[in-house]
Subunit: 362 residues, 2 copies
Amino acid sequence: MARPPAVELRRRNRAAMLEQLHRHGPQTRAELTEALGLNRSTIATIASDLAESGHLQETTGRSTGSAGRPSTLVECVPKALAVAAIEIRADRVRFALIGLGGEVLERAEAALEAGAAAPEVAAAAAGLVGPSGAEAVAAVPGLVDAGTVAHSTELGWTDRDVAADLAAATGREWRVVDTATAAAVGEWSRGDAHEATKLLYLHGGRGLTAGLVVEGRAQRGGSIQLGHIVVEPNGRECACGLRGCLEAEMEAFGYAEDIEDATVAAGMGDAAARDALRRSGEDLGRALGAVVTATGPDEILFGGWLRELYLSAAAPVRSALAGTTLPHLRSRLRLRTPVLGDEGALTGAAETGFAALIDQMR
Amino acid sequence: MARPPAVELRRRNRAAMLEQLHRHGPQTRAELTEALGLNRSTIATIASDLAESGHLQETTGRSTGSAGRPSTLVECVPKALAVAAIEIRADRVRFALIGLGGEVLERAEAALEAGAAAPEVAAAAAGLVGPSGAEAVAAVPGLVDAGTVAHSTELGWTDRDVAADLAAATGREWRVVDTATAAAVGEWSRGDAHEATKLLYLHGGRGLTAGLVVEGRAQRGGSIQLGHIVVEPNGRECACGLRGCLEAEMEAFGYAEDIEDATVAAGMGDAAARDALRRSGEDLGRALGAVVTATGPDEILFGGWLRELYLSAAAPVRSALAGTTLPHLRSRLRLRTPVLGDEGALTGAAETGFAALIDQMR
């Protein structure tokens, strides 16, 4: 078959330059030349194409040394391309309009009644989100596949087509990702996890979920109900109907909202709190052993209230994980906490939208 | 950004037609028009492009009815594009050169010494595989990631860069997939599992492995060491150093090579054989519960000797799986046996190569 024609290469180069600047911020033409492995004249052509289409601008920026003259920087025009991102939680909907390069252009949030149904939540979202943004992406806590929330402990939803609810309320199309996957994409793109090839993000909210991303991209089947890994055959009854689920067995789960109090008490020598944290760490480590064996990540981030649990119980988590994971899967595995905190899911939802937009340009 | 230019659309349409004929066999232009959603004149243009490049031919084929005249069929030219596939087993290497449309053009195999090291296996492969085939793909039993076999119970290899070994021995580049993943791709492409969105294939050989494919495609992280899911906390010691692994706990594993004898004995009323199969089925079902929760497949195929185990112990497998999997994950899950038998892995290795070739055409 024919090789890609010049016009197609030019499209791909434009997408690559835009992705480079979107992810890494303003750069000189010389830096772009090196990062993209293209020659100087190609860089010049592509940059002026993208300046003409309004995506880039060139500015006189930082000095490259005490004696050097200020160098010209190529940078994204934030408003040229934006993504509307929302994060749905049990008690509120958060919205951000994020521009090319990652700048937050708008931000808003709305409180939700406890137990709000999906159409009400979609209506609240519609009140926040205008027509702006070339893509719209929602992060929802739970097990999500192809726009549908199959199960959400946190929201109490089952088999809900949230993409359709949001489309009906807002008159535009939505992508839906689970909160843990969105946070994983966020940490990979704008946090400190960009070296992870397969990143598993654990989200402790009112349920325990996880998201697996490969090279920063959400995967089908990467949305995981961590809380319903069975860690104790014939164990305690879980609200889901099974026995021995991590959510049912893990003592810390009962006081997730007081996790900071528990860690403070344990730190002050409270033996009961210390034991509960240790056993919770062991349960979590064993559940992770199964997830790691089934999915093979090279980095795990402990997010939501699992961050506090991990910080107080890293030793039992690691020891239980070591007892349930093959050495070669364990040897390359880093355990860490996320750096974007509360912003991870919204950031990652937006980055999922940008990835789709940049893919469409190729 | 600009929309895809006409030349690019034409490339995509060519790739789509080739994929359609490769997967579904000879078709009339009318059938192609419907399957690809293109108009008749576009179909005619693309078909003559592909005939000119030697990929397609038009033949007078089957009659479309008792009174109808024989219709002209568009079909692949098998030798126009071929993939060299090998499957490495503990005792032999099998080779097939598979042409466009799925026809086997050549076939050969070589015996291996027990415990052969990777370079010897690669040398044996080199003796079978000539320069033919636009892609070369190897199926290897074990945990495979990016050309490297991280762990193979069956071959006794750890962290072996098999892609490099094969490249050194044959002077060409290789893709490497694990046997279970290859078999999954094979069953999805040429077997009876093409309706599965997320297909989990279980392979019972000298080790227990699994492969997860999404819409027929191998995934990074989709190669799973099923045998080392811990099903019994503080259980029996496994050869890998952990305790309670499925491979250590599962009684049937001890007589995998006599599984047919055991099922016959159980069928004839041997209580010990029957109990061993039941307990093995329960262990397998519990391990699957964790894998299903972590990966969310909609179909599971029981391959290798797990086929016989599943056929004799479907009830305990299903019951243990039901006790360890959320209802909404279970409700859409089909459990079946593969149809390609011994040919699945070689077929799937070839299809992995064709998928890459057709992607390159887009």
